[in-house]
């Protein structure tokens, strides 16, 4: 069983967000980065669990520069067997997906997993694009993944209930909350990660399809406005003209 887990690096949830270059670049100054929680807690851990149950190997793959190595080492410490880093800046989802597909196409992975989204851009695109580029089925936002021979059973949350899907290997899936329980690495894992292979691969030519024009921060929280309970008219007026909700 060959499992590939796609991992990415995201700003820590407590990071202060700001932009540079006319609001077109994210300002990384002083920002702590972490392994994207959906990749780490669900995709990676489920991948490791499947390997532990069925044998085989878990490879983690990241598209990015050497400053991403700490999050790759963490994935190795948690239990991935080896890692691949495609040495290029990630330009947009399509560019990243093309890099991944170009690498993965000759590797015969049985399962390719990623998190349901990254917690920074929340794009939720790469998994589906990789599946398309490799001609594989894609199951998004899976909360459960079980294997039975060459068939996988996945569960997804849908409006008012859940959906159970069967798919033949190989396939791509994105992992949502519920698929596994986060694992904290232990010291043995951290030590083992020192010597696990991290292969740096050269990128292919892959243009991006989109360009960021501008970022902006959400409006800062406004204080509460108190309206006298007798003054319903003013409330309606403000909901209409200021809050613009009615």
């Amino acid at each position: 069983m060959k499992i590939l887990v796609l991992i990415s690096k995201v700003p820590d949830t407590t990071a202060k967000i700001s932009f540079t270059e006319n609001n077109t670049k994210f300002n990384t100054e002083g920002v702590q980065f972490i392994l994207n929680p959906y990749d780490e807690w669900y995709a990676l851990v489920r991948g490791i669990e499947l390997k532990e149950a069925n044998g085989g190997s878990v490879t983690v793959l990241n598209v990015g520069r050497a400053d991403n190595d700490p999050i790759i080492r963490k994935a190795l410490a948690i239990g991935a067997d080896d890692a691949v880093r495609i040495d290029t800046d990630d330009l947009d989802a399509l560019n990243v997906a093309k890099q991944i597909a170009a690498y993965a196409k000759d590797q015969n992975y049985d399962i390719i997993l990623c998190g349901k989204e990254t917690i920074d851009y929340n794009g939720s695109q790469v998994g589906g694009m990789v599946a398309q580029l490799l001609g594989l089925p894609y199951v998004s936002l899976a909360t459960k993944l079980d294997l039975n021979g060459d068939t996988a059973t996945l569960e997804r949350d849908i409006q008012g209930g859940s959906e159970v899907i069967e798919v033949k290997l190989p396939f791509v899936a994105s992992a949502a909350k519920g698929m596994a329980e986060a694992r904290i690495p232990n010291m043995r894992g951290i030590m083992a990660a020192r010597t696990k292979p991290l292969n740096v691969v050269q990128p292919v030519d892959a243009a991006n399809a989109t360009e960021v024009v501008e970022y902006s921060l959400p409006p800062s929280k406004q204080g509460c406005k108190f309206i006298d309970p007798d003054n319903v008219e003013e409330l309606v007026e403000l909901l209409h003209t200021e809050a613009k909700v009615i």
Binding site: T14, G30, Q32, D69, P70, R73, K74, A77, I184, P185, N186, M187, R188, I190, M191, R194
Partner: protein
């Protein structure tokens, strides 16, 4: 206790002085503590009980003998890693850190440094895995700051040693499987002996009624004609310098640990001061509150830099005992002062177990006394810079 919302301050980007592996180790211990220890620590401290169930987890995250080489079951990490692990444990509770400090620096360290090959093979892997818990007996009822005056002693009986005496204030003693005990031979020279639970005449009564380090067990070691096999003597080093070098290692860890406790108090006070409204505004908007918080982060930052430098020196094998004393003394006092100020910021809430402040504050009252009292460390610095020992005033020579 309320949810552990700790966010570590790093005002001077000290993280940039650490390696990626240091940060991975620190973050791992932090995550483990948040998940496994923070939710239960207040309850155990209130009940004055050590949470034994965390022992395997402590071993897994490398808290037992982080610098012990792999051939003896340790992870073979550097000193800064050891410090960071202690920082994260004490961020939660000084008692938990004490358990790990004693196991690492006071039990594994002397066996590793002064033990025979057989002793290292026999004890170190089990201590690293937490299968065995150890304790360290130096202090006696009548000899605390002056351990050289100890009366615990052993006689050579030909095929074994006969150990008599008593040790006091011993962390982990009631739960320990082995004790590294410092005692005088017939010539009055101090040696280390490994005493195992179950040896006849060896008992470990618990000390009750502590207002401090309540989540750590403390007890006595009583030796009533205990027959200790000769192979249990640590052959590598004798004299007071042997236990003192263990204390160097433990004090180094405490210097880091105290930063953890201080960070937790500061972090909680900062958050509370922004959420607590009085006179219609968050209390963080008052100058007096800001003064407290600003001084806290200044002191934490200074302590971080002092300790990081000490870590580098210790990695290079160059840190002196006096340098370690300075860091232990400075950082523990810093943490205790911050705990007291943080408690004030929390107002009445600060005295409850809803917040960790009062527990840290009471714990630190032990930390400022054990491993050399605050004043003794001052005298060590004084001796170091003047060359004149001021530990005694009866004219007798020190040691």
């Amino acid at each position: 206790m309320a949810e552990d919302r700790f966010q570590a301050p790093d005002y001077y980007n000290v993280d940039e002085l650490l390696t990626d592996e240091h940060k991975l180790i620190r973050d791992t211990v932090r995550a483990w503590v948040k998940k496994e220890v923070s939710p239960i620590i207040e309850d155990y401290a209130q009940r004055a009980e050590f949470p034994k169930q965390i022992i395997p987890g402590l071993a897994e995250v490398g808290a037992f003998g982080p610098y012990i080489p792999e051939e003896y079951g340790g992870p073979g990490l550097d000193q800064i890693s050891y410090g960071l692990i202690m920082q994260e444990l004490e961020r939660c509770d000084s008692g938990v850190r004490s358990t790990a400090s004693v196991q690492s620096s006071l039990v594994m360290y002397p066996i590793w440094k002064f033990g025979s090959e057989e002793q290292k093979k026999k004890y170190l892997p089990k201590l690293a895995s937490g299968e065995m818990i150890g304790c360290f007996g130096l202090t006696e009822p009548d000899h605390g700051s002056n351990p050289a005056g100890m009366v615990t002693n052993f006689k050579d009986m030909g095929d074994h040693y006969l150990l008599n005496g008593a040790k006091m204030w011993i962390t982990n003693s009631p739960i320990a499987d082995i004790a590294v005990v410092w005692a005088k031979n017939e010539e009055g020279r101090i040696h280390g002996l490994i005493v195992e639970r179950g040896m006849e005449g060896f008992t470990t009564p618990e000390i009750h009624g502590k207002w401090s380090l309540r989540a750590s067990v403390t007890g006595e070691l009583v030796f009533d004609n205990v027959k200790v096999p000769k192979e249990n003597l640590l052959p590598g080093k004798s004299g007071l310098g042997a236990p003192l070098s263990c204390l160097d290692s433990a004090r180094f860890g405490i210097a880091w640990g105290a930063i953890g406790a201080a960070m937790d108090c500061y972090d909680s006070a900062l958050r509370y001061s922004k959420e607590r409204i009085q006179f219609d505004v968050p209390i963080a908007s008052f100058q007096l509150t800001q003064k407290k918080l600003a001084e806290m982060i200044t002191e934490i930052t200074k302590a971080q830099l002092l300790t990081w430098r000490l870590g580098v020196l210790r990695n290079e094998g160059k840190a002196t005992s006096a340098q370690i004393s300075m860091a232990k003394r400075n950082n523990v006092e810093m943490a205790l002062k911050i705990a007291r100020e943080a408690r004030q910021i929390h107002g009445g809430m600060g005295i409850t177990g809803e917040y960790p402040i009062m527990r840290h504050m009471m714990n630190l009252e032990s930390v400022i006394t054990y491993e050399g009292t605050h004043d003794i460390h001052l005298l060590i610095t004084g001796y170091d810079i003047t060359g004149i020992p001021a530990f005694r005033n009866d004219g007798k020579q020190f040691k």
